[in-house]
Symmetry: C2
């Protein structure tokens, strides 16, 4: 019953609304731009698949040079692994024993890594790995200013010691380095603010590295960074791996950031196609609300028209025209640029991937959002 | 790969997190309370299935006396109809010809109704029904203060005339009355404010009824109302049918409304079960963020503990303890009361339905969120 909004070969005009549409040409340019940045800067690239939740896209990223992908959840790792993605890092903590048993089972089938930030988490992971007889890389997460998960920099040495102590001669845990993501810095509007936040993060990473070294343990890798700040992590000299996600699709929130380097712009490649379903005298109503696009980072923008989405409810969005602009007519197409790409993708079952632009193009592929709803 | 978070018979403690959990005892009391209200007030009850998107729940509501359900989208109607729900009102406009062809096809299989607010919509619906040879009820939507869809009250007569003019001797459109939902009034905090908003809506409904009557057309039914205001619509004397949805599960936003009648309280029956996955000195992090619960109406509340969710990101929520309260420990369960039930349900694939309470109960049923993601 739940067919995709279009079939391969359909014209863009035939895509049912609302639908999650990818401009493939723009996405591929973004893909290559970031891959080239990582090559040029000799950084490992491990894009965050929590954003796209698609095995097809993960494989495109790996074909372009990514070493693997990050995910945030055990169930995301399970789904992507079942579809052939063979190098996955759960860049997040898992402390539930039943879930850790699934993690340990998965580590028998693919190359798997995970983050820890507590002694209890280390103990439980060690038990699960011993039970399953499997091995995996473990990163100690350091709070580098985000104020969410992670230990204080000074405590990283002690936790790394616990990871090492729980290693087994036949495998088990391998201490792989530090997880150091500053999520809040991504959305600071000015490049100077982002630079300052990452300078602070880098200082904390150095302190954590020193604590690990003082414990007599080598620290092979520091992994982190996001689309808003990766140029700063890359310039730091301490990060070795980039976990960028949103660069591939972009969103209104990231577009609102002033660029660090105008030569390194990413293009908007993700849209929600909507249709005007009702017209008032001074407003138009589109058939897409916050069940079609996430509003946690604010309203979507409108592509190519001087229109503002004043607000939305579950299945409606209310458009006003700016001074001098004309409201679209009943039945007209309106392309929304989502406020935040990750949770927008998570609302949809399929991507409609278009080649040749949104005005004249055709549907080249329909991809499942494979790990949609995988929150556990 | 995407198994539900629990199986029938599991203890509540065994439910994987995050998970969408229904307290069945509370839900059934809400179900009966609203059914009794409608019986007592001799109102037709047509609950809004856009909230729960479940055929199993729609059937429970109809078994308790509901005449059918509302939905907001064609694809929701298709999914629920395919699962045996046989009386569905799309309380919203559809103007796309391809979608109207699906509406007309569906009208051959179940009792179907729809709303209109434009002459173009009426013409296109008439064409689709003629093509399919099917019939359905049509409501003219009136803007009764919401400022979204619907014609002005004075224009209702003309649009009703167009509906009647497009009827065919062998069927087609039947003018069924007025759609008159004041969505904004639902969330006004004080009962006096809600009363005033619905008094204004009722005045507009009376004006629209007069316009229809002046056009020589009988107006069989006025349908509308929501969980925040239904006592006012019921008292108005003009509404004949209630479209309440959220009463069944409730949410933090509706709980924040001061009650109209304290004897008519609905209980919180929908929760997101989450787990503490990281602990800082002064905060705890749960494994549920805005991919597990919608934040368009604000943060979730925490059930039974003096904790506040300060904020959340995609997969994390940050908890602080109120003065004198204790933060939960790593691995502890935290029950979140979603800010807004409808879009929260739409994030999940399954309901885990618990009998005997959230502390000592067991899983009695696992229901699919059948129409999840049906935005088209």
């Amino acid at each position: 019953v739940r067919a995709p909004a279009a079939r391969v070969g359909d014209a863009v005009a035939a895509i049912d609304t609302p639908a999650l549409v990818v401009d493939l040409d723009a996405m591929e340019r973004n893909l290559e731009r970031m891959a080239e940045f990582a090559r040029t800067h000799r950084m490992r690239l491990r894009p965050h698949a929590k954003m796209h939740k698609s095995a097809a896209i993960a494989k495109l990223q790996m074909a372009a040079g990514a070493v693997g992908v990050c995910v945030q959840k055990t169930s995301e790792a399970e789904v992507l692994a079942s579809l052939g993605v063979n190098d996955i890092y759960i860049s997040n903590e898992v402390v539930d024993p039943a879930k850790l048993a699934r993690v340990a089972a998965l580590a028998q089938r693919v190359r798997l890594a995970i983050a820890v930030d507590s002694a209890l988490g280390v103990q439980r992971l060690a038990s699960a790995l011993a039970q399953a007889g499997s091995s995996m890389d473990v990163f100690v997460e350091v709070d580098v200013g985000h104020g969410r998960c992670g230990v204080a920099a000074a405590a990283a040495g002690m936790l790394a010691q616990q990871v090492v102590a729980h290693g087994r001669s036949d495998g088990g845990m391998r201490f792989a380095g530090l997880q150091a993501y500053q999520g809040r810095a991504q959305h600071l509007r000015g490049p100077d603010e982002r630079d300052a936040a990452i300078r602070h993060a880098v200082a904390l990473v150095r302190a954590a590295q020193a604590a690990v070294t003082a414990a007599g343990i080598a620290c092979p890798l520091v992994t982190g960074a996001g689309t808003g700040t990766f140029v700063h992590e890359a310039a730091s000299g301490v990060y070795g791996e980039l976990q960028v996600g949103s660069y591939l699709f972009m969103d209104r929130d990231y577009a609102d950031n002033q660029p660090d380097d105008s030569a390194l712009r990413f293009e908007q490649a993700l849209f929600v196609k909507s249709q005007v379903m009702s017209r008032g005298h001074s407003h138009a109503v589109v058939d897409a609300g916050h069940k079609s696009h996430a509003v946690d980072s604010g309203m979507p923008a409108v592509r190519g028209q001087a229109l503002d989405l004043l607000g939305c409810s579950d299945e409606h969005g209310i458009l006003r025209a700016r001074a001098g602009a004309t409201l679209p007519a009943l039945g007209d197409t309106v392309w929304l640029v989502p406020g935040h790409c990750d949770p927008t993708v998570n609302l949809h079952d399929h991507y409609i991937a278009v080649r040749g632009g949104l005005d004249e193009g055709r549907v080249e592929a329909v991809w499942a959002v494979d790990a949609r709803g995988c929150v556990s």
